[in-house]
């Protein structure tokens, strides 16, 4: 497929799919609580409504920053998702786009944080400081895990090359070697924190600090923030499914010819990942405290990620 076409089509695709994913997540969450729950297309209704609500900017806010940051956040995460998706589809890519995607995701959450801080609300300030510590806790293991791909068997940080490598070995990366397995595990463990769900929804804890930095956002800004979050959650799960668990690789070269099939397999896998790393934890755990979460991330995922980089350097 042509790279430009893939890139452009992936824009709406990313939006629709990630919102659907959010709807599915909410539905399953409700069902696990013995409820019926909202319809799967509920996030669309929410967005339509939010986009058409009044815009209120608090007097304490620095208007520019407050207004612009949600747009940057949404744009960054959509861009990241589209790069990932289109490069998966087209089989073309630029060097190091894996890092680019990760960077865009981080940027999206930082933008939201800064925008929230600009609202001048004390809860937003607490949310900001909590998110800062959380990001230190999970971004470092995540980046190390991604970088270990470059040291590992694929030896690249380009999405299509990683895919081609998996196809050539006819095995998903995570099962091909020990180092990659632990890298994948690191990423999976980091998803709940990156997605800010219970037990790691500390920066946005509703009953503690009333959504933290999102407290003052309403209407269209909240809609953008929600898009940013939904898309980046989707991107993370897709990233793991494409880079580490590319199941279509079992089909061999077929995977590159029947793009539709391999894409839907990837989406199904990322749905499963979302179920396991977002829906289930947020259903069965209580929220941790910032210190406990920090300790957890610096004990397990960080150790795993360092293990993966060591293993990949020595070639396991």
């Amino acid at each position: 497929m042509d790279a430009a076409v893939a890139f452009i089509t992936s824009f709406p695709l990313v939006l629709v799919v990630s919102l659907l994913f959010e709807g599915i997540d909410r539905k399953i969450h409700a069902r696990m609580q013995k409820r019926i729950g909202p319809p799967i297309i509920q996030p669309f209704y929410d967005l339509i409504k939010l986009f058409n609500k009044e815009r209120i900017i608090p007097v304490t806010a620095s208007t520019r920053v407050f207004e612009i940051m949600p747009m940057i956040a949404a744009a960054a995460s959509i861009l990241g998702a589209s790069i990932l998706l289109s490069n998966t589809l087209s089989g073309l890519g630029m060097i190091g786009d894996l890092i680019l995607v990760m960077y865009l995701l981080a940027m999206s959450s930082i933008a939201l944080m800064v925008g929230g801080l600009a609202s001048g609300n004390p809860y937003a300030a607490i949310g900001f400081s909590r998110k800062m510590s959380m990001m230190i806790a999970y971004e470092i293991p995540m980046f190390i895990a991604i970088i270990s791909v470059a040291f590992g068997p694929p030896a690249v940080l380009t999405i299509d090359r990683v895919i081609k490598f998996q196809i050539s070995t006819r095995l998903p990366l995570a099962v091909s070697s020990l180092s990659m397995a632990s890298a994948a595990a690191t990423l999976l463990l980091c998803i709940p924190a990156a997605a800010s769900v219970v037990p790691f929804d500390i920066p946005e804890a509703k009953t503690e600090i009333i959504y933290g930095f999102l407290i003052e956002y309403g209407g269209p800004y909240l809609a953008l923030a929600k898009i940013a979050k939904a898309v980046s959650n989707f991107t993370l799960t897709l990233l793991v499914s494409v880079v580490f668990l590319y199941i279509p690789s079992l089909l061999g070269e077929e995977a590159l010819i029947n793009l539709g099939i391999s894409l839907s397999i990837c989406l199904a896998v990322s749905l499963l990942i979302m179920f396991a790393t977002i829906t289930v934890p947020r259903t069965i755990f209580a929220r941790l405290k910032i210190g406990q979460a920090f300790k957890f991330y610096w004990m397990l995922p960080l150790a795993l990620s360092i293990l993966s980089i060591i293993l990949s350097v020595i070639g396991l």
């Binding site: 219970v198 804890a205 503690e208 009333i210 405290k289």
Partner: protein
Amino acid sequence: MTAERDVEREVEVEYTRLRIPFGPIHPALKEPVLLRVSVRGEEVVDVDMALGHVHRGIELLAEGRNLIQTLYLIERICGICSHSHTTCFIQALEEIGGITPSKRALYLRTLIFEMERIHSHLLLLGVIAYEIGFDTLFMFTWHVREKILDLFEKITGNRIHHAMNTIGGVRWDLTPRMVEEIDAYMREVEKSVKYIHNVFMDGTVEKRVCGLGVLSYDDAVKLCVVGPTARGSGVDIDVRRDHPYAAYDELKRDFSVVVERGCDVYARTEVRILEIFESINIIRAILDRLPDGPIRPKENVFRLMRGIPEGEAISLVEAPRGELLYFVKTDGSGGLKRLKVRTPTFSNLIGLKPMLIGCEIADVPVIVASIDPCLSCTNRLIVIDQERGESNVIDVDSLRHRVRRRWMRQ
């Protein structure tokens, strides 16, 4: 009388900490209270409470109404332990009027009382789960609770305000079918609460509730906290056993008072969980031994109300949250001269201060929830505040001073 204030130090303290208003409108609080929490980083260094957001002046209103009207009015002091309020009030009236309700009426009163305790404790367990972000557990406990509300609806006609008590007896009788239903439900709730108890020992929950919000035995005694808050700190008090009322005198051997020595949030939670089992025992005993007889006097309430002479009485009950005290003074013509309510949460709120200082912001909601602060009864014009470093005993004078200062500021 206030201690000399070290202004410089205060200014410094002001600048190094962030003041966070916690409430009066806050998702963790179903009811309004304003806690001004001062923090340094994530650590709470001071708490300041402002109450009175739901002060409706019920005591004053009651003085202008007749006893029947007051009965339904005070039921609406609170929706969670409405039956405790009416029982306490009615007991005082019956004491003044020299009316003895029949045995069956007393047993039925006690039955609703214990069912209310179960419903209230389940509600609180759900709220605690909700505060720590455990929505599924919250949903689960509230679902278990739904069925007891159904029973209330079946017996008394409303899920929350039972309107059960009337002068000299109760208004609704049990049918044999209801007895069976209650019995069946008790089996079910026993099973569910065992499950809830188990889930409360889940790792993530434990991390959030153990060792937090410590109220030592000495503090508990000094600050006069009551109910599960006191029993969670090892203070062995329970009105049901110490001053038996209604049918508790005859049910003494069917329950024991749960006392935990953990002093933390978990201990208070556990007290409540175990109390549910005790309540189940009491309810079973009541259903077993329910005497026959009329449930209320034959005269209509109007005549009974008129028959109550001038007098005064104090009455005590053990509401789900602790000791509830009523002082009632009648005027002899079916009205009230004075009504004074001392509710459990009012006693317990003072205990919050030692619990909160030194904890993290994240812990504030759970700790506040752990004393079960349903504030609708408690909110009065009162301010509790201690400057840091002052002695920890809250003396009346300084309280008065604060109140006056605040008034002057407004």
